[in-house]
């Protein structure tokens, strides 16, 4: 489908843009990832509002996570999360064996160091979506073998 390619191209360009403007000294270098993450956060907030419009109310946290893994992930990345693990104490690990934003990159070790910038936006998407559903969290991502990635969600307990 065309929109799939468009999203990937746009995403790549956004990354390019952010890193280029950092090179030109318009922004501090270390802030690129957090900038991308923040972009994702705002997009996630809007998206979740739209996607949850016709669903029934969520029962609990796990229900929210299932929604993120199935419907949300399918809408954005055209596939479901392959594996969801949790320790039932506020940590969830979402495993995607073929993460779409990494599929265009070589599956060897060559570009492994560049993986973080391609994951920052997705992390933001998840964090933004969760925060709009009333779940405050910290989202990080890990890549060990190229197209697969683990997204780790730590829920911040509300005091």
């Amino acid at each position: 489908m065309a929109d799939e390619a468009l999203f990937q191209f746009l995403h790549n360009e956004v990354i390019q843009y952010v890193y280029k403007s950092a090179e030109n000294g318009e922004m501090e270098n270390g802030r690129c990832v957090s900038k991308l993450e923040h972009l994702g956060f705002r997009v996630g907030q809007g998206l979740i509002e739209r996607f949850t419009k016709d669903t029934s109310r969520f029962k609990d946290e796990l229900d929210v996570m299932k929604f993120i893994c199935k419907d949300y992930w399918t809408s954005v990345f055209k596939k479901q999360i392959d594996n969801l693990r949790t320790n039932h104490q506020g940590i969830y690990v979402l495993q995607d064996n073929k993460f779409r934003l990494l599929t265009q990159l070589s599956s060897g070790k060559q570009y492994l160091e560049h993986a973080p910038k391609y994951l920052a936006f997705a992390c933001g998407l998840v964090r933004g979506g969760l925060s709009n559903l009333g779940v405050r969290s910290i989202v990080t991502a890990e890549v060990s073998v190229m197209p697969a990635c683990d997204i780790r969600i730590m829920i911040k307990q509300v005091n």
Partner: protein
């Protein structure tokens, strides 16, 4: 139809509140404020209830002598409250539902507006006109 429409944020502060100008505005603010307790009650009771009752529409929150107050909670915990005149007996439940649906659609559009900052008061003309559409029908 409606005499007052309010949108209340996750943290229970008003994002948008508008009532018909002919009547005492403050009274409606009180009415909406009072209704939040009932919303809270209904939402927290849902956890124990049957699965098919987990609807966004909360139904009639409480009737007063002159008004009926209806509530709706989105998945993002934003509350919509609509106050209608009790004398308007012709109003059906699914009409209220469709009003909330319209309101929710419009709110989603506001949320997806890149110039809107989530958590700010709603100052959208499109949203305004949707709300006006609900209130005008009264006259």
């Amino acid at each position: 139809m409606a005499v007052c429409v309010a949108v209340i944020a996750k943290e229970n502060y008003p994002l948008y509140i508008r009532s018909v100008p002919t009547q005492n505005e403050l009274k409606f603010h009180y009415t909406v404020h009072t209704s939040l307790d009932v919303v809270e009650e209904k939402v927290s009771a849902v956890g124990k209830a049957l699965a098919d009752q987990r609807e966004l529409y909360l139904g009639l929150l409480y009737p007063t002598e002159d008004y009926k107050v209806y509530g709706y909670v989105t998945n993002s915990k934003v509350k919509f409250v609509i106050v209608v005149d009790s004398s308007n007996t012709s109003l059906r439940d699914n009409e209220i539902r469709s009003m909330f649906r319209k309101l929710h659609n419009s709110f989603t559009d506001v949320m997806c507006n890149p110039f809107y900052n989530p958590g700010d008061a709603i100052q959208s003309r499109a949203f305004d006109s949707v709300v006006s559409g609900m209130m005008v029908q009264a006259c």
